[in-house]
């Protein structure tokens, strides 16, 4: 493809390489480092004049460092006369402090969905999927869960927190019937995993035969890994928006869905001026 360059920040080089491979491109040369005073330094190693530039940086790990690195890379490309600079941010940081809706940005935002890849994984990896039940660990995820349940033509359930009094622990209430079913918990993020581990316990005691958890972004900070190891999951499945190799060494229950093809296809379509909305319901091969 003429006039396109893809650069990787240091947050997730593996995903960047996968994206570039799928597009049949080499990653652009860039040096990112820190001076001894910990200030970030970026030097683009090739000409980007007139190019359509994509910078892949995920909001994971040391978020503020990676964010600063991304901003500096974008700035460097603009000063070097790139014709357009697009940031590809698989896991968008600070998403719970602000909503990542289009209205909050002055520039175009394409919020892609992992849903098609999740549906594909369920059909290929859960034998009993036709009789499963999709569960949301909180009331806020109901829409997400019903969307998946409808496409699989299965039932859904949700767990909501009932707060009795100010200093009492929230009670988790299951709404829906999971008896003798394989339960699939679906959520967008797995951070400390307190909520989904409680939810799994709840589902087992309510009669579910197996519990899977499928989460788009596997942040897994703090006590998350040990909580998962001690909980009753069949598998905890995340996408590779965030690097998972290290965590998988400490937790055999974690499995990864590769979404590099969705991002690669989004880049290709954006570059060619094609519609990106096809990706909202289809997984590119």
């Amino acid at each position: 493809m003429p006039n396109i360059k893809i650069f990787s920040g240091s947050s997730h080089p593996d995903l960047s390489q996968k994206i570039a491979d799928r597009l049949g491109l080499e990653l652009g040369k860039v040096v990112t480092k820190k001076f001894s005073n910990q200030e970030t330094c970026v030097e683009i190693g090739e000409s980007v004049r007139g190019e359509d530039v994509y910078i892949v940086q995920s909001g994971c790990g040391e978020i503020n460092d990676n964010l600063m690195e991304l901003l500096i890379m974008i700035n460097a490309c603009k000063i070097a006369s790139a014709s357009r600079v697009t940031a590809v941010i698989p896991c968008f940081p600070y998403a719970r402090q602000d909503k990542k809706d289009k209205g909050f940005f002055d520039i175009p935002v394409d919020n892609l969905y992992a849903e098609p890849a999740v549906l594909k994984w369920i059909k290929e990896n859960i034998p009993e999927w036709k009789n499963c039940i999709i569960v949301s660990p909180d009331a806020g995820g109901a829409k997400r869960v019903t969307s998946i349940a409808d496409r699989l033509n299965v039932d859904f359930a949700l767990i909501h927190k009932e707060r009795k009094k100010a200093n009492e622990v929230d009670r988790m209430v299951l709404v829906g019937d999971v008896t003798d079913r394989v339960a699939i918990l679906v959520d967008d993020m797995a951070d400390t995993c307190g909520t989904i581990c409680h939810a799994a316990d709840k589902l087992i005691s309510a009669g579910a035969t197996k519990v899977y958890a499928i989460l788009t972004h596997g942040i897994f900070s703090g006590p998350a890994i040990s909580r998962i190891n001690n909980a009753c999951f069949e598998a905890v499945v995340v996408t590779n928006t965030i690097p998972q190799e290290e965590k998988m060494k400490h937790c055999p229950k974690i499995q990864v869905i590769d979404i590099s093809m969705i991002l690669a296809e989004a880049i290709r379509r954006t570059h060619n001026g094609e519609s990106v909305s096809y990706l909202f319901s289809h997984v590119p091969l």
Binding site: E43, M68, M73, A76
Partner: protein, 367 residues
């Protein structure tokens, strides 16, 4: 009509409320300076909580109303620069969206000030940072000894660039017994102007160190600079090499006579100390019997404490713009000068709308 105008003026005067001072740093070492400043001002530090969540996202909660008030945010920059910047941005934005009237950043050491020029296909990070601070809601900045004064031009709002030199000069006069037998040294020609301004005020001689003794980062400028570089070393050795194609650099040499004198090297930042150590070596060789380093910002990165301890340097004197307690524990040669007084005074004057000229009365044009 007449009565209405009077009423509006009266309301405005009554509404001119006090000011609040917040610290946006999450670590205790960094809030030391903020505490000193608020003690001098006789005010309480504003109630806020700043921390990193388990996934390392920064979180800021302002615990009191700031509506219509003038707010000063004191932010010191520790090792974790990018987090400190994020803390400041998040707090500024939180205050802006909570209807604070003015938000003044007190950033004694301004980060990324060494990345203020175009280098190959780099980014002028300092300009990026200035834009980000404005976007986040800052309306004014107080800082100290900006690495390049021209950085003030990157900002769309006022920048007060205070000077530490009066404090460092006072230290020289009060703590160095033999100071009248001293000579002020610039460790490279780039530092000569600042060294000269100290020498003038102390009525001492000047010496300049010139030439390359150590190998610097290979950071060849490739003509992308605007305007084109002149045949000079500019900025810090280690960041930019001269444009001259001939690789013959003169061996390190001292211009000026330091024999039998106390050498006082002055600079704005002590970060990597390699060139300071090399300078001390050559000064000792040329007969200086004591060597001091005086600088505003003591970053003292990497293994600076160990290198200083093992070197010919007798004392490194820096201000408390940058926290360096850890380095002091590792190296007793490091001494601190407290500049909270001038920062507190700047805050007081800005809030009262008084002139800042008094704070610059003993500053020469080259300082």
């Amino acid at each position: 009509g007449f009565c209405r105008i009077l009423t509006v003026n009266f309301v405005m005067n009554v509404a001119k409320s006090g000011y609040r001072v917040f610290s946006a740093n999450s670590s205790a070492a960094c809030t030391e300076l903020a505490k000193k400043i608020t003690e001098r001002l006789g005010v309480e530090l504003g109630k806020s909580v700043v921390f990193q969540e388990s996934n390392s996202e920064t979180r800021v909660d302002v615990k009191e109303s700031v509506r219509g008030q003038t707010i000063f945010i004191i932010q010191t920059i520790p090792r974790d620069v990018n987090t400190a910047i994020m803390e400041l941005l998040v707090m500024a934005y939180a205050l802006k969206t909570s209807c604070a009237k003015n938000i003044i950043g007190v950033i004694p050491y301004f980060p990324y000030s060494k990345q203020c020029k175009m280098r190959k296909r780099g980014s002028i990070v300092c300009k990026l940072l200035a834009s980000m601070l404005a976007k986040a809601g800052l309306t004014h900045i107080i800082t100290m000894d900006l690495h390049q004064k021209e950085i003030q031009g990157f900002f769309s709002f006022p920048v007060d660039n205070l000077r530490a030199s009066p404090f460092l000069i006072q230290y020289i006069q009060e703590e160095i017994p033999d100071y009248r037998n001293a000579i002020i040294v610039a460790k490279s020609p780039a530092a000569a102007k600042r060294a000269q301004s100290y020498a003038e005020r102390l009525r001492l001689g000047l010496a300049v160190i010139h030439g390359e003794a150590q190998c610097s980062e290979s950071d060849m400028a490739d003509g992308r600079h605007s305007p084109p570089c002149v045949r000079n070393t500019t900025g810090h050795t280690g960041l930019e090499l001269p444009l001259m194609m001939a690789k013959e650099k003169p061996p390190i040499t001292v211009v000026g006579d330091v024999g039998g004198r106390i050498a006082i090297i002055v600079d704005d930042i002590v970060d990597d100390v390699g060139d300071f150590v090399a300078a001390a070596e050559i000064l000792k060789e040329r007969g200086a019997y004591k060597i001091y380093i005086m600088a505003t910002h003591g970053l003292l990165s990497a293994d600076a404490p160990r290198l200083i301890e093992e070197s010919a340097i007798d004392e490194v004197v820096v201000t408390n713009t940058v926290p360096h307690e850890v380095q002091k524990l590792q190296c007793p040669k490091i001494k601190t000068v407290d500049v909270s007084m001038i920062l507190a005074e700047a805050i007081r004057r800005i809030h009262n709308g008084e002139s800042m000229a008094y704070l610059f009365r003993n500053i020469t044009v080259d300082d």
